[in-house]
Each structure stands twice: as C-alpha cells, then as structure tokens.
C-alpha cells in the first residue's frame, strides 16, 4: 500500500515529542491504524480542529514504509460528535467504546470485517450522542461492540455439543468457552456461571435486533444487572485487563451527579 485517502475515526491521541501527535485511528479498509501527525500541535492551519477524540474525519495517509508509523498527511472533519462533550455519561460511554475499539480492533484485518466494524463504531457513537446513556444502553452497545469485534458470545446453543439448553432453571455459561453450556456438558467443565434463561433470551435478542431498534428491548433490573455482570466478565477475560475508562463509566452511570 502507498498513500491512501479514506475515512477514519480517532480513537486515541497522544502528544509526541515537541510538536507531533500520535493518533490511533479506526479505518474502514484496514482496522486499527496508528499514525504520526507531524507538527500537529504547532501548526494552526494544517490539522486545525480535526485531530480530536471522537472525530470522524477524511484523511490522507502515507503507509509506504512497512515497519514504521504511517504518516498522516491531511485530515478534514466530517463529524466531531460534539454531543459527547456536553454530558458526562455520554463522554464516559463514548470513551469506553473508543478504548474497546482501540484495544480489540485488529491491525490490517479482513477488509469486509473492518468495514462492518467501522460502520458499527460510527453507529454506536451516533446512538450514544443522541441518547441519555444508562446501564441498559451500555450493556447492549457493549454486546454489539464485542460482536462487531469478532467476539460474539453464544447464547442459544451449547458451545460444546451444539444442543439447545431448555427449561426455566438457570443455564450454564462458560466465559472462556464463549457461551452457554448444556447441563450434561456442564458436568465436565469447571468455572460455570449460572444465568437466568430470560437474561440469555434478552441478550440474544440484543444481538439480533436492528441496531436502531435496540431501544425497544426491555430488560428488568435483575436481568440487566446479571447481563452486565456476565458481559463484564466475558470482556475482561478476552481482553485480559480491565479497560481504564471502566471505573469512570461505572461511577457516572451509578450516580450521574458524581460524574
């Protein structure tokens, strides 16, 4: 690849040296792409107002040299998602999503998957920007984000034998195996967490519903708490660490005034 023109979402921005900035971008053709923007902090004109978190931008990047950082040559703003800045819960959930994409999005992934991920990321930020985020929105968006990142949990069939767990009693879920486990298979495996079937059904619907219809999914308080706990464990296991933005998001959603 050489110089490419495309769109990007700015996931992270770190000052570098005297006047440069290193950016982590999500790019539809590539996935996660770290770039260096030379002179970005000093020049008022070159990247003015474009290299900020959440910004959806048009870019021109030079990725000619394989073993060095790609160089950002031009950027122009498409959408800054300004609403993220004016409400603590939106800012917190927005940052959480950016960090999730930054940690889990592959570099140079399969093009069609990366295009889907990029579309999802913009859609998710738009949804957060238009709503007052709460635990339900966080849980459902996080579920869809994991799916878009290739970590879709299995809720309907046993991940070991493929059978569909039935009945009204709590069903086994194994985080490391990535989904539900039927009772006979549960007997052969440690670390099973029991989840209410209603919670699993709601999560399954959360994966199937059109993204802009997620609002219609109703979850009871206990079911939501159980789903949130399950997804947190699932995400932490597959990521290996807790996201740094998680404590602030937890705090804001628990008590918006404290955020």
């Amino acid at each position: 690849m050489a110089s490419i023109r495309t769109e990007a979402l700015i996931l992270r921005s770190v000052d570098f040296g005297e006047s440069d900035r290193i950016l982590h971008l999500l790019v539809p053709e590539i996935g996660r792409l770290p770039v260096i923007a030379k002179g970005a902090r000093r020049s008022v004109r070159r990247f003015s107002g474009t290299l900020d978190l959440f910004n959806h931008v048009k870019i021109q990047v030079d990725i000619r040299r394989p073993n060095s950082l790609a160089r950002l040559d031009q950027a122009s703003l498409i959408d800054p998602f300004l609403a993220m800045r004016s409400e603590s819960a939106r800012f917190a959930l927005g940052c959480y999503l950016l960090e999730l994409f930054d940690r889990l999005a592959p570099e140079r992934g399969v093009r069609t998957d990366m295009q889907r991920l990029f579309s999802f990321a913009l859609g998710a930020l738009r949804m957060v920007a238009e709503r007052a985020p709460d635990l339900r929105l966080r849980t459902l968006i996080e579920l869809r984000a994991l799916d878009a990142l290739g970590l879709r949990p299995e809720f309907s069939r046993c991940v070991r034998c493929g059978s569909a767990p039935a009945g009204r009693s709590p069903i086994g879920f194994h985080v490391a195996e990535g989904g539900v486990v039927c009772d006979p298979c549960c007997a052969q495996i440690d670390g099973i967490q029991r989840i209410h079937p209603g919670t699993l059904r709601a999560l399954e619907q959360g994966l199937r519903l059109d993204f802009d219809r997620l609002d219609r999914l109703v979850m009871s308080g206990p079911s939501l708490a159980e789903a949130h706990q399950l997804l947190t464990r699932f995400q932490r296991f597959h990521l290996g660490v807790e996201l740094r933005s998680a404590p602030y998001l937890d705090r804001v959603l628990r008590s918006p005034a404290a955020g």
Partner: protein, 199 residues
C-alpha cells in the same frame, strides 16, 4: 572504534531525555559543557538542582511557585471575585501573557481523560469547590482547552458548581486571529458564528 568516556556518555544519555534534544544535540551540548568555564557548568548544575528543591505548588491556586501562596494569590490588586480555571501552569502563563485577565487562577492539573484513567478525583475540582465557599468569588471562567477532554471537563465542573450560585462561563471559541475562513473546519466556523459579538 574509540568509545566515548563514560562521564560524557552519561551526560549525553541524560540530555537526550529532554524534549526536543536528540543524539546530535545532546552530544554537542555535552562537548560544549566540557569546554565551558567551571563557573558556567556549576551555575547550570546548581540551577537544575534548585529547580527541583525550591519549586512548590501554590497552596491556593496550585500554580508552580517558589513561595506559597504564589505572587498572583498574594497580589491585592488582582480581582478576587473572578477565578480562571486552567489545565496546567503553562496555560496560566499564556493567559497572563495576554494581560486580558486581572483575576485569580486555579490549576486543575489536567483534564478528565477516562482512557488514561483520569477521573474527577485526580483533578483539583474539590479544591476549587472549597475556594468558592468563602463567598468572595462571583465568577468562574473555565479556560480548559476546546477539545473533547477540555470541553467535557468544563461541562463537568459547571454541573458540579451549578448549586453554588457562582456564575460559570466558558472562554470563547472560534476563528483564530490571522485565520483563514476558507481553511477552517465547519465546526470552528459554526462556533465562531454562535459566539459572535457586536462590533
């Protein structure tokens, strides 16, 4: 190949850690110091040593100072009813250079940055709230940078101060002096129009 003597190598390594100093500059500076008069070298060494020992944070505004409270907080001619909230001491210096503000300051020590693990407790927001309890302050001017973190921090502080009865304002944001509308992004132009003033 002849190796560089260890003391010179040590100084080059130390100087390279400074911003804007690369291998070549560090080498040049090291050889300059080697050839400089003893007094110059001692003065530099002492200045660096004293920097770390004598600079403290002002107990009121948290700016860097050699005497706490700092000169601005001690100055009776400064308007005590207006506090300008900035991210870092360098921002305070920039505003002072403008000579456009005669009130006092409060240095937050950064901005909200959840991705870096910085939440409200890591900033000096509680200390700002404590300063307002004197009843002397009538306006808090939020002068954090107009980026995502700066705007979110300003919004967070204004929400927290809403019940204090103190007026909160945000520094204006828009076209820079000498700027060119043709090259400005649409958000900057939009903000300039929103924040337009009478002429």
């Amino acid at each position: 190949m002849r190796s560089t003597p260890a003391p010179i190598e040590r100084l080059i390594t130390a100087l390279k850690r400074l911003p804007g100093i690369g291998e070549k500059s560090a080498t040049r500076l090291s050889f300059y110091l080697l050839g400089a008069p003893d007094a110059v070298v001692h003065e530099l060494g002492e200045a660096i040593d004293r920097l770390k020992h004598e600079i403290v944070l002002c107990q009121i505004c948290f700016d860097l100072t050699d005497e706490s409270p700092c000169a601005i907080c001690r100055d009776d001619r400064r308007d005590p009813s207006a506090i300008c909230v900035v991210e870092e001491p360098a921002d305070l210096v920039a505003i002072e250079r403008s000579r456009a503000f005669r009130g006092r300051y409060h240095v937050l020590g950064g901005t909200l940055s959840p991705i870096d693990g910085v939440g409200p407790d890591e900033l000096r927001i509680a200390e700002l709230e404590a300063r307002l309890k004197s009843g002397e302050v009538g306006e808090v001017i939020l002068a954090t940078n107009p980026n995502a973190e700066g705007d979110a921090t300003a919004h967070h502080i204004s929400t927290r101060l809403a019940e204090s009865g103190v007026k909160c304002s945000r520094i204006a944001c828009g076209m820079p002096l000498g700027g060119d509308l043709e090259y400005a992004d649409h958000v900057t132009i939009g903000r300039s129009m929103e924040n337009r003033g009478p002429i």
